[in-house]
Each structure stands twice: as structure tokens, then as C-alpha cells.
Symmetry: C2
Subunit: 388 residues, 2 copies
């Protein structure tokens, strides 16, 4: 295993009815901005629970944070935060609201000339301050509730970019599995596959003798495979909702990624499908991952075989047969929860390939994936494999 | 799964050579007390590494913290801390040094009349302040490097008592697996079984539908079973040392215990064997655990069968046969790393039974274990089962 640092001070408050604890989790006397999305929390009762728990607090609301939160929207929130001297941000929503709120927190205290630099110059400039954040998670998927990562989209230029900082780690996150009951089926499915691929990005690389990290990753994958379909089949199954929710958080809180190589090429390519065609984030991952597994079967052989054996019980056949069977099982799982895995399923044709290649070239990207095994030419091949 | 809160802000700095990072981890300008044990760190080079990294800091040394750290010793340190206006404690050692330092940190800022109350009145009074602590771990075993627990022994009265507080969570812990190379074999063995039983105490109860926690627990157990013997067989195998070290930390940092029932009866009884007979902590656990598994095989049936199947691949026979085989495998594992599992192996006879029973009765303890399934009469039976 490689040397590593691990630091995750997010306080998790997990379980049914726990939203009421907000009263004691938000700092006394805080001037709060409550951020949320399109208003579904007003229909499912979460808005009311939050507002009741915040009785007595000075709360400004900022709604309308969209899926793949827009830089333009978030900068409007920054203006309001500054004008109202807000000192605590409470994000009530899924990954988009949480990611957007992290950006608001960082941009508010950003001392550079242009907050856009937080996203475009992330390799040169660090976020060194941010307003404190708390979250009430309404959609298990991204793990944003227990990490310091954020992905923001500039609508104007269709760019989807990420940043990360310990300063935007939430002070607390409330995870009440009851929120899963009222989610649209499509969002549950997106959450299941999103969490699944988060694990894969940290796991499906090459062996570095890391049995704890490997087995924890396999534990989360197996749990998503078992519990995900139960959540979809019985929308009021609390236990399955709870297990799905905890699995999604553990999938991307940093723990399974310590001391091991990571990939993230599926995300890098997938983000472009969202940026160009608005395909849901989780779905883009299910399109791309099988292509990477197929094309990079030699580089990833040891881990694909281990994953196939331990997660899918595939032990028969030649290495290539086992790899094919493992990819097939992975694709079938995605499809079984209702997520299509080919570009054609989303009405996207081969014209996407040069567009993505061109964009990567314009950004000066030479290769992606662990050890840079995926060249720009490979990106084109991977997309080719996933056309139809 | 049950509702839970999880909060673990300890920064882990893991890997070979990482002790040098102390220079930047200890707060600038801190007045440091460096605590350690009997001086083995002077022989294995860790002392020199720490001192080099602390060049320029104001460092007071406090050595001589013994195994099962003594209240009497720790209170001497508290006096020195106060007299010298120490504001940061750096514990360099194993679980005893770390636990002892946590007590020093809490006792220094204790506002009650008697710091002994921290241990005896833990159910009534909380620790609400403590000096900040950093640690350099020299012995993987107790998990103290990533939790807020501490066990202290009052030598005068042979009482071994525990307390826990978020305030004594280390600010950082440096885990350099190279420290394992110079450990006496006996200490490595103790560490392996200690970590193993920590997992069992959080796992071997009754099912509450917690697949992530269960599989993580099984992951750690399996890793200890695989890596422990490798560490003992090749004392300079870095990879195995690293995996053992990370497994021991994950065994008791709170993660596998969230939302599930916990037992801890093995520890409660084991502590008395240490208090009365000075048997190494890890060894006491290996004596007691098989007795509890045997006597409470009905209450714990579902989890014993799951543990036997997933960890030891025991799938044949009646439930009782599988349970017997599972206990046998567990005992064999302990013995295989050189840890004896019967009281007679340590020269302890049946006269210990009334002594422990009497002490529990004097403390007003009616029952222990999850759901209070172990009565005081059961404690006697468990000890009886483990005589020889």
C-alpha cells in the first residue's frame, strides 16, 4: 500500500427522524442561508422539517440550485451571502445542492480576482477558507455529504469542472433514510449506479497489496447490488433505504481510496456527456465504465478478475472469458436498475467523439486514468465501443 | 440498522518515513510534553526520529508510562504539565502510552474535585475539555490512535477502568509500519488478537440488517487472519506490517460499530484478569471470547454462523456443529500466533472466579454483553469453561 493521509471530520447524524437535531447542530446565533434545489423538498415534507428545526434562527433561503449546479446561479447566491453577512450555509438536497453550496462557501471567502479560478486553476491555487456548511441529504448518490469535493458547471460554456478542499468538508451531515421513500425511481437508480462507479474508480486499477481497502470496496459493491434492487422494489423499505444510503456515503468519503491508485477516467469522460448532452451524471458513468473495462482489460486484468470473482462469483474460464463475463454482469446490473448503458440509448451518435477529443486536447490533457493508461486516442475508442 | 452518530476527526498520516512530518503537524510554538513508555523507542530509533522532527520545539519528556498505565504515574505527569504550562501532548508508544496520555490530557483540565471521577463516574460526568494530543504509534493493537477511548489502572486498588470523550481524540496520528519490524514477537501477537477481538465485540451480537458494517468487520477479521501470520513469519515484510497496522486502526475507530449492537463483555471480564493477574490485555481476550461464544451460542447463533461461513468458510453440519467448528477455528487462530487461550496456561486457577464475581457484584453490575445476556452467574460459567 502507498503512503497516505486521511482526514474526515464530518459529523454524521444518521437515522429516521434525525433532521430534528438541526436545532442543536447549527451554531447558536448563526445567520443561515438554507440552499436547495427545485422545490421537491416542499412536496416531501423535508422543507417543513428543516424549517421547524430552525425555528428561532435567522434564515435566508436560496432555492433553484439546478442539477449539475451552474456557476452563474451559485454566484448569485454568493452576492446574497455577502450582502446579508450570512455565516453558515445549510444545504438541503442531493449532490448538486451540496456541491453548489460548497462552491458558494469557497467563493464567498475567495480572495483571488475571479472565483472561476477555483475550478479552472485547481492545480495551481488552493481554497484556503470557506464558510462553514451543514447538510441535510435528500438523495444518496454522490457522497458529497462526507467529502470535500464539488463539481460545478458553467452553463455559458458547457464546462463541468471540479475542485476539492478540506475547507468545504461539511461540519455535519444529516442522513435520514426516510428521504429515499419519496424519490423518483430514476433518481434512486442514478444514485445506486453513481455510488457503484465511485467505488470502481478507486478499486478497479492495479493491485498494491491493500486488502482492507479492496475488501471494503467489495463490501460496498456487494451491498449496492443486494440492496439497490430492494429499494426500487419496495419504496418504503426503511432498512434497504438505510443500507443504500450508508453505502453511498462510504463509497466516496475517502476511506476506500487511501493508499491505493485511483482511476476517475469514467468520470472525466462522463462529465463531457453531461456537459454536451445533459445526460444524468450516474448514467454517463454506466455508459463509459464498461468501455474502459473492455479496452483496458490488460492493464486492469488482476483487479477485474478479483472483482469478478469476489463480487460476481465468476471463477470459470480463461482470463478473457472471465473478464467478458464480469463486464457483462456489471452492465446487466446497471440495466437491471433501469439505467441504459449505450450512447444510442440517449440519442447520442458518433459526432460526440471528436467533440470530446477536441475539448481534451484544448485543455492540454495527454492521458487519463491510473498511470495515464488512457490516451486521447483511447478516449475515442472507448466512446466508439459504447455507441450502440 | 439503528440510528447513530459518527464523528472521527483524527488526521491519519500513514506510511514509511512519515514520522518526519511531525515538524509540521505539531502546532508552531507549542510547549510539548512527549510521553512514552519504558524506553524501547530509544533502542529502535523512533525516539531519535521524533526528537529530530521536533527540533526547535520546547519539549519536556515524560517517560515510564507502563503497560496498563497507572493512574498514579499519570497524575505525576499532570503535575508536570501544569507546572510547565505544557499545551500539547505528543504520545509516542502503543495503546498504553496513548491511553495514558489521553487521561493526562483530560485530567489536566478537569475542573471537578478528583480526576479519579473521570474513570469511576463516567456515566454521570463527561469530560468537556482536554489538552490537544498527537500520537506516533509504535504498536498496532488497540486502535487508540483513532478513537477517544482510554483505559487506566489504579495500581493501589488493582482497578482497571475506562473513559471516552471526543475531546481526547488525537489531532493527528502517525502510523509508520516500519515500527513493527523491531517489535518483540509477543507484542505483535498481542496486537493481532487484540484487534481481532475488538472487531468481534462490535460484530458478534445479533443481526440488525447492517451489511456494510458486517462486511467491513469480516474484511478486517479476514485481513488479520491472512496478514498476522505473515508479519510474524517475516519480521521485515513491510506490506504485511502495513496491512496489519491499518487493520488494527480500522478495528476500533468507531466505523464498524455504527448503528449496530455491541458486546464488550470479553473486555469487561478480561480487564479483571489483567487487574488481578497481570495477564497481557490481548491474551485475556483470547481466554474469554471462546467461553462467551460457547455459552451464548443461542443468543449469538445467527452471527456466529455468519462469521463461521464468511470468515472461516464453515458451511457443513448442524448449527451446533458449525458453531463448534467456528469456535475451534477461532481458538486455533489465537494459538497459531502464539497466544494461549486457557486460564491454566497462565497459572490461574478456579479461585479467580469468586474474586471476579465479587468485584462485579460490588460494582452493582447485574449483567453485561449486548441486551444484558450475560448474568453474573454466566460470568462464572464462562470462566469455568476456560479453566483448562
Amino acid at each position: 500500500m502507498n503512503n497516505f493521509e486521511f482526514f474526515n471530520p464530518v459529523k454524521i447524524v444518521f437515522g429516521k427522524g434525525e433532521i430534528a437535531k438541526l436545532t442543536n447542530l447549527v451554531p447558536k446565533g448563526a445567520k443561515v442561508m438554507m440552499t436547495y434545489g427545485g422545490g421537491s423538498i416542499k412536496k416531501n415534507g423535508i422543507y417543513d422539517q428543516v424549517k421547524t428545526a430552525l425555528t428561532g434562527f435567522d434564515v435566508t433561503e436560496f432555492s433553484g440550485i439546478e442539477a449539475n449546479p451552474h456557476y452563474e446561479t451559485l454566484m448569485k447566491a454568493v452576492q446574497i451571502v455577502k450582502a446579508n453577512k450570512i455565516d453558515f450555509l445549510l444545504a438541503v438536497g442531493g449532490g448538486s445542492v451540496l456541491d453548489g453550496t460548497k462552491f458558494i462557501a469557497a467563493a464567498t471567502l475567495w480572495e483571488g480576482s475571479d472565483p472561476w479560478d477555483i475550478l479552472t486553476r485547481r492545480n495551481e491555487i488552493n481554497v484556503e477558507a470557506a464558510l462553514p456548511i451543514g447538510t441535510v441529504l435528500t438523495l444518496p448518490a454522490t457522497g458529497s455529504e462526507m467529502n470535500g469535493n464539488s463539481v460545478v458547471t458553467r452553463w455559458e460554456t458547457k464546462e463541468k469542472l471540479a475542485f476539492g478542499s478540506d475547507f468545504v468538508l461539511p461540519k455535519f451531515s444529516i442522513l435520514d433514510p426516510l428521504v429515499v421513500f419519496s424519490l423518483p425511481e430514476k433518481q434512486v437508480a442514478n444514485g445506486i449506479v453513481d455510488a457503484f462507479v465511485h467505488v470502481m474508480e478507486q478499486y478497479l486499477t492495479y493491485p498494491v497489496n491493500s486488502p482492507i481497502q479492496d475488501r471494503f470496496a467489495e463490501s460496498i459493491l456487494t451491498t449496492l447490488i443486494e440492496e439497490g434492487p430492494k429499494v426500487l422494489a419496495n419504496r418504503t423499505d426503511y432498512e434497504s433505504a438505510a443500507n443504500f444510503m450508508w453505502a453511498a456515503t462510504m463509497a466516496l468519503n475517502g476511506l476506500i481510496g487511501v493508499g491505493v491508485p485511483q482511476d476517475w477516467a469514467t468520470h472525466t469522460i462522463g462529465h463531457e456527456l453531461t456537459a454536451f448532452h445533459g445526460i444524468d451524471h450516474g448514467r454517463t458513468l454506466c455508459i463509459i465504465l464498461p468501455g474502459i473495462m473492455n479496452l483496458k482489460r490488460e492493464d486492469k486484468k488482476a483487479k477485474i478478475l478479483q472483482y469478478g470473482e469476489r463480487v460476481w462469483k465468476i471463477t470459470e474460464g480463461s482470463d478473457d472469458e472471465r473478464i467478458d463475463a464480469t463486464i457483462e454482469k456489471t452492465v446487466s446490473f446497471f440495466e437491471s436498475v433501469g439505467v441504459k448503458t449505450k450512447l444510442a440509448d440517449y440519442g447520442v451518435g458518433s459526432d460526440i467523439i471528436p467533440k470530446i477529443v477536441e475539448r481534451f486536447e484544448a485543455r492540454g490533457i495527454k492521458s487519463i486514468g491510473e498511470r495515464g493508461i488512457i490516451s486521447i486516442a483511447d478516449v475515442a475508442k472507448i466512446l466508439e465501443l459504447r455507441l450502440k
